[in-house]
Structure formats: C-alpha cells, structure tokens
C-alpha cells in the first residue's frame, strides 16, 4: 500500500533530492523485485547477527536418539544424521556464508579495483603488464583456481575467503579499468589537473568515486557468486571443517541420504538459492538505479 503512494510522488522527490544516494534510493524503490531482495538480505543479515537468539539449539549439539527426524514443530527443518537441528545449523550457517561472500568480494574489489585503476589511469606498459596477468588468471576457470588455491593453502575459513576472493580479482580489475579509462578522459579530470591536483588525488578523489557504480553492481552480484563458490568448495570438502555449519558442506554431508531424507539436502539448498536470488535481484536493481543515463 505504502509503496504505490511512493511511486506517485517519486518524480517530485527526485527533483528535490539533495544527494546522489537519495536519488538512487528513490529509483531503487520503484523496482519491487530489488526491494524484495533487499528485504530478504536484511532478514538474512539480522539472522546472522542474532543467530544465537534465533536458533533453538546449538549448531553442534548432537542428539543421537533423535537422528533423521522429519521436519516438525520441535525441529523445524528436521535433524541430520547426528541428530543436530538443521534449522539451527542453517541459521548459524548464514554467518559463514555472508562472511565468506562479503569478505571474499571485499578482497577482490580492493585488490582488483586498485590494479584496474592503476592500469587504466597510467595505460601503456603498466596497463599491459597488469592486464595480461589478469588475462592469465581469467583463462583459468574460477572454480578450478579457487580449488587449487585452497588445496595449496589448506582448509580454513580464511583460506576459503582468500581463494574465492583472489579468483575473482580479474573481473573487478577489468571493470574498474574500463570505467577509469572512460572517466580519465573527461574534462573534469583535466580541470582537476589544471587546478594543481596530483595524480593520486585525481585517482582517489575524482576518478574512483565516479566509477563506483558499476563496481557496486558487480560486487552485489559477485557476493552471490562467491557464496556459491564457497558452498561448492565446501561441498567437495575443501571449505569449512565440521562441525562448523556451512550450507555447501551441509549439502555435501547430506547427499548420501538424499533418497530417504530429502529435506536434509533441500533446506540448505533453499537457503543458498534464496540468498543468491536476493543478491542478484538487488544487484540488478542497483544497476538500473545507478545508471547515469536514467538519471533526470
């Protein structure tokens, strides 16, 4: 109900909108799907933060009398082969998944963004060297690269994040480089140089903030992908060590029981799907909201 009111007033708001953020928000509000994504995400984040209040059981409490319980009021999503409550494990698992997603993408954005910005801004030889290295990384399938990194570094949460992050650096380097190249030739950069700004100042103050939009979009989409990659790695046993609950690891652990106790694989799977869906629709919405061409 509220929303339809907003849509009617949107145009007026947009003109008054003071900051860019407000403009983005008014445009994002029009995209219902993106809003749904945002709401799901907020719920997920709250779930991760307050996991110990929400989860009815500890994620690692075994109850061998109660193994393979079907979903019931007592165990919302049933119990697994050790009698652990699946709902509690999924709730706790959101912590790991969101952490992996956000930090892995963070690593990729910071390193990839920096490399891309340097390559784009200075062009020439530096550009060639950096981008050819990125091409080499890009030519290896992301999953394969992540597998080899984790295999080399060993299993741990941090290594998992590093692996997923490093393997997606090239994407961000490419995106940032492309936008930096288009931005650095604009007149306001020249005018910044003409008022005596140094290169570093121009990069950080004028160029990078102006190419954030596509990076934000890619990062939002990338978090979904990173969660999926992490889940995939856990699934093949290269991720989080038990008993820490991780959605991918839960999937992999329960796959042997898929015929008899389908719910064991179903719920972690649904959790992954919903999270990635939320990130993707939000990313799509942000892309539209941040597109300068649609700006009025």
């Amino acid at each position: 109900m509220e929303e339809s009111k907003f849509i009617d007033k949107d145009k007026k708001y947009e003109k008054k909108g003071k900051s860019q953020l407000k403009g983005v928000w008014t445009r994002l509000k029009k995209d219902k799907l993106a809003l749904i994504g945002l709401v799901i995400l907020i719920i997920l984040i709250l779930m991760a933060i307050f996991a110990n209040f929400i989860a009815p059981y500890e994620y690692d409490t075994q109850n061998l009398k109660n193994t393979f319980q079907s979903p019931s009021l007592k165990h919302l999503f049933g119990t697994d082969e050790f009698g652990r409550d699946i709902f509690s494990r999924i709730v706790y698992g959101s912590r790991i998944s969101l952490q992996v997603g956000v930090i892995a993408v963070g690593i990729a954005v910071v390193i990839g963004g920096f490399l891309g910005a340097v390559a784009g801004y200075y062009s020439g030889k530096i550009d060639n060297v950096i981008m050819r290295i990125m091409d080499v990384l890009l030519s290896i399938p992301q999953m394969l690269l992540a597998i080899s990194i984790v295999a080399a570094l060993g299993n741990s949460l941090i290594n998992l994040m590093v692996a997923v992050g490093v393997s997606s650096i090239p994407q961000y380097a490419r995106i940032v480089r492309a936008s930096v190249i288009s931005i650095k030739n604009q007149e306001f950069v020249e005018s910044a140089r003409a008022i005596g700004s140094s290169d570093l100042r121009i990069i950080f103050k004028h160029v990078i903030p102006n190419c954030l939009a596509p990076v934000i979009v890619q990062a939002t989409l990338g978090i979904g992908l990173a969660i999926l990659t992490a889940a995939g790695l856990s699934f093949i046993g290269l991720g989080i060590k038990p008993p820490t609950p991780e959605w991918g690891a839960m999937l992999s652990g329960s796959r042997t029981y898929i015929r008899d106790y389908t719910y064991m694989t179903l719920f972690p799977g649904i959790a992954i799907v919903i999270t990635i869906f939320a990130f993707n629709v939000l990313g799509d919405g942000l892309r539209d909201a941040l597109d300068p061409k649609l700006k009025q």
Binding site: Q20, E187, F188, S191, A194, G196, H206, K295
Partner: protein, 326 residues
C-alpha cells in the same frame, strides 16, 4: 607594463601513427599584466593546444612540446619540475574550460569543488575554507544556499559561473579561458562575459581568451592575436586590427561576419579549409587559400613585421610595401 607571459617560438607536435601533427608552430605571444588577449582562429588552429602548453598539460603521449620558451613572471615554465608546476596551476595560472557541463565533477558538490582549489594552494581551517568558497561563489552570483548542491542541479550558465569561481578562487595572475561561452546560449554568453570582464578588473588578472567569435573579442579584449595553422598571423590591439585588418586571412574573417545592414544571400567565405596539420603547405601556411598569393608566398615563410606601432602581421604583401616605401 611588464610582460606577465611571454611565449617565444613555441612548437607543439602530436605524434600519431599517421604522422606528426604540427599543432603549434613557432608561436610568439605576450600578455602584460591586467591585459586581455583574444586568441582567435578556426577550429584546429592550435588555440587549445597552446593553452594546454602554457599549463604544461599537453597530453603526452601523443603530444610533445618540441621547442620554444614560455616565460611566466620571468621564469621558463618549460624548465620547471612537475611539483612546481602543480603549485602554479590553479594558483597563479588557472583555466576555464570550454564545456561547463563536463568540467565539473558530477558527484562532488559545487561548494566542495571550489573549496578544493583553495585547499590545494592555501592552508586554511575548515571554516575559513568554507567561508572563502562561499564568498567566491557569491562573487559570481551564486547564493550560498546552493553550496551543497550538485552540478546536475545547476543550469549551464550557473555551472560556468562555478567554473569561473574555481578559476578565480586563488586570485591567479593569469586566466586562460578556452572558449568559455561556446557551450552557452547567447543571453547567458553575454552575462558570463560581462561577469568575467568585471571580475578581471576587480582582481586585476590578465586573461587569455580563446574564442572564434570576433564579436566576443571586440567586447572583452585589449589585444588580439589571429591564429592560423599553429602560428599567429596578425597581432595588435583590438582597435587597430578591427579598424585596419591587414592580413588577407584576417580580412577574410571579418568579411565572413554577417552584417545587419546589408541584405546578402550568401556570406563571403574564405575558400578552402584549414590545412591538415600533419601536412602543412610550404611557405606561408595560408597561401593555398589566399587571394593575394604571390610566388614568394609558396616558397618561404613570411616573418612578422611591425606595420605600425604594436601591430604585427606576417605577410609578404606588407613586406614589399614597406620596401617600396623606403
């Protein structure tokens, strides 16, 4: 009056795969303190390149300053280190760009952008910075309530005012205005020019005004230099040149201005197009289009001759006349 800026034999080239584009060739110029020099020429005559050359902002590669000297306050800018140049840019020499729509950063508020110029060159506290920036915006006629607005909330003319405020913020000695009114409509043009004229007197700055509008020059400049293919063909004070244009190119330019009194179907145009800077004609650069072309014009480059006091022209027509006179 002393020369604030003196350019001697400046040559700038752009090296591309298709050859060397000689954008500026042996250009000589001078601007005294408090004076406005109009820099007139067709598109591609090397006006903007010269301006960028003075700022040492010619994009390199492909651009390169191949020779000459640019003296500013008695020191050669071409021999300065990048660090020292940064102290000059925006502080002593500032530039107003052609298109106000794109010369402001779209995601920083206009107030902050004015503040940034001051911050780069003066050590002031936050409040002082804001005060000074507000005052600057006020001088160009922008209310301080609009300090925190973004460029897209301003009209073209207002944006150009902001750009002017940025250019004047550190009270520079010289302003290079690169076609400051080309992107604006006529009424706003008049306002902006009036404002620039006013502020120039108020702050006692010199100005290099690049334009292809002879009307703008008459309105605002003290001296004028006619550029063609990277060098100055005629230089002198505005009245002398407007009353008594000597170079055939200058005369051609004046003839191609539509007149209100005459009823003409077609304007008198200068035949041909400006030369390709990668393949300049021999001799006088203008000879292929000149109606007074002589044999010598095809062979050698005319020198700059002082025809009357402070009125220079590079053309053999006047060389000969002088000789005959003698």
């Amino acid at each position: 009056m002393e020369n604030l800026l003196e350019i001697k034999n400046l040559s700038i080239e752009y090296v591309t795969d298709d050859g060397i584009n000689k954008a500026v060739n042996n250009l000589n110029l001078k601007i005294r303190e408090g004076e406005t020099l109009g820099f007139v020429g067709e598109t591609g005559a090397g006006k903007t390149t010269t301006a960028l050359g003075i700022m040492r902002l010619v994009p390199n590669p492909p651009g390169k300053i191949v020779g000459g000297e640019i003296y500013f306050e008695g020191k050669d800018l071409l021999k300065k280190e990048e660090k020292n140049l940064r102290e000059i840019r925006g502080n002593k020499i500032s530039m107003i760009f052609q298109d106000p729509m794109t010369s402001l950063n779209p995601i920083i508020t206009v107030g902050k952008q004015v503040e940034e110029v001051i911050k780069l060159h003066e050590e002031l506290s936050k409040d002082e910075l804001r005060n000074k920036a507000e005052k600057m915006l006020d001088t160009v006629g922008i209310r301080k309530e609009r300090f925190d607005d973004y460029p897209h909330q301003f009209s073209g003319g207002m944006k150009q005012r902001v750009v002017i405020a940025m250019a004047l913020a550190c009270n520079p000695k010289l302003i290079i205005a690169d076609e400051p009114t080309t992107a604006l409509d006529v009424t706003i043009q008049a306002q902006v020019l009036e404002l620039m004229k006013e502020l120039k007197i108020k702050f006692n700055t010199s100005m290099l005004l690049i334009t292809h509008d002879l009307g703008v020059v008459a309105e605002t400049c003290d001296y004028v230099s006619i550029m063609y293919a990277g060098s100055s063909l005629e230089y002198g004070d505005v009245e002398k040149i407007y009353n008594n244009p000597l170079h055939p190119y200058t005369i051609g330019l004046f003839n191609s201005i539509p007149s209100l009194d005459e009823d003409k179907e077609k304007l008198d145009v200068i035949p041909g197009t400006p030369p390709d800077p990668s393949n300049l004609p021999t001799g006088c650069r203008f000879h292929p289009r000149c109606s007074h072309c002589m044999e010598i014009c095809q062979k050698s480059l005319p020198k700059s001759i002082e025809v009357e006091n402070g009125h220079f022209v590079s053309c053999f027509l006047y060389d000969k006349k002088m000789k005959e006179g003698k």
